[in-house]
């Protein structure tokens, strides 16, 4: 699935955040978006993951050259991992299972996919633990597991390592690296960490004054 954005504009309380964002995401690989605080990275991610409507411009999802209708089914083919994981007050397993449950999936398939996702982020042993008792790094990994359980075609990660320690940052980076190997998922992420961006990015994007530009390596 490809994503084209054209002239995306978004204002908050009359203040323009995104002025004229245009870019074509090709449907695979890892895109890393960098830029100063408050430059609109998170906003762009929320718009691209269909959580928010832009004030202007066009957002086009394409598959085999044909445009896709922007509906619930399309929204369910992607997910955004928020910088702060909104953990549900229940077990890690149930947290990771949420996306599948809302899609009406249950039974063995659910269990298999959830176990796989928890295993992928190294939380299989915490499956039965209340998610609110996890450390911040584990919580962030649970947020990723919750997203991976639904096997998204596009995975948006907003500052996935901003609030975690070095050890968990390394774990999360290796998770993103593993995802790249599986190459089923296009990853679009934001970060402040230049070195991390260099390690993970297939394509490095920079955001400035409400616009997106590709950085040549």
């Amino acid at each position: 699935m490809k994503l084209h954005i054209a002239h995306i504009r978004k204002d908050y309380n009359g203040k323009p955040v995104l002025k004229d964002c245009s870019y074509a995401f090709k449907g695979s690989g890892t895109y890393v978006l960098m830029g100063p605080n408050g430059c609109g990275k998170s906003t762009l991610l929320r718009i691209c993951s269909l959580l928010e409507e832009p004030d202007g411009g066009a957002l086009l999802f394409q598959e085999n050259g044909a445009p896709l209708i922007r509906d619930l089914a399309l929204r369910r083919r992607m997910t955004l991992v928020l910088p702060r994981t909104g953990v549900f007050n229940t077990t890690a397993f149930n947290n990771a299972a949420y996306g599948l449950k809302v899609r009406g999936i249950d039974g063995n398939l659910l269990k298999r996919e959830v176990d796989r996702a928890l295993d992928f982020v190294g939380l299989a042993h915490k499956s039965g633990q209340n998610a609110l008792t996890l450390s911040s790094g584990e919580t962030q990994r649970l947020g990723i597991a919750r997203a991976l359980a639904i096997a998204p075609e596009i995975l948006f990660l907003d500052e996935p390592t901003a609030s975690v320690d070095e050890e968990n940052t390394a774990i999360i980076e290796s998770i993103i690296g593993d995802l790249k190997k599986e190459s089923r998922t296009m990853v679009i992420m934001t970060t402040h960490d230049k070195d991390q961006a260099a390690r993970l990015a297939d394509t490095l994007l920079f955001m400035t004054e409400g616009r997106v530009e590709e950085q040549k390596p």
């Binding site: 997910t79 909104g86 549900f88 007050n89 949420y98 996306g99 899609r103 609110l132 997203a147």
Partner: protein, 234 residues
Amino acid sequence: MDSLLQGFIQAFKLILHLDQTLFGIIFLSLKVSGSALLIATAFGLPVGALLGLKRFPGRDLAISSVNTLMGLPPVVVGLFVYLLLSRKGPLGFMGLLYSPTAMVVAQTILALPIVSALCHTAIVNIDPIIRLSARTLGATPGQETIAVIREARYGIFSAVIAAFGRVMAEVGSILIVGGNIAGYTRVMTTTIALETDKGNFELALALGIILLAISFVINAVLHGVQKKGAVKTG
């Protein structure tokens, strides 16, 4: 002082023997208040969710109204329901005055604002990120609402228990609309009022102790639930 001690001794004897009449009174109390609570929750939870999750014109006014109604004086509710159900009242033809049903109606009116207001508080206090997370994971608006309500479950349970405590302890409205008829509409609180008037302190004390015991159990459960709900990250 002696008579008070005697009263207590007699009261405990009554409780230990738990005769038919006493049992009937306790059972009716629980039945009336329990039914009122069920109905109040069935309506109050959706009202609380609506107030907590939807933005609509007049929402602030609605919230203030519900909060005000939490302090409804039971006798006023009793009077209102009495007028509604009395023979000349608009619902007089149903012949419900001085029946357990009338008591359920009165207590439902008392419990409804409490359940609504406290459910609203419970739901509005849930971090908005819960709703957003549900949406990122593909939830429909209805599923988002359920996710938030589920997160608020401990607060909602507290709301229900608080309303239960209130209706179990009140005497004003059920005395007016129930009439305190022996074996039919006589409950714990109305019996205590009556027996005290008659100078029959043993039974009144016995019921008072039982009422307190029930109240204690309710609060112990509430505390336990709140403790469980307070699981937080270290």
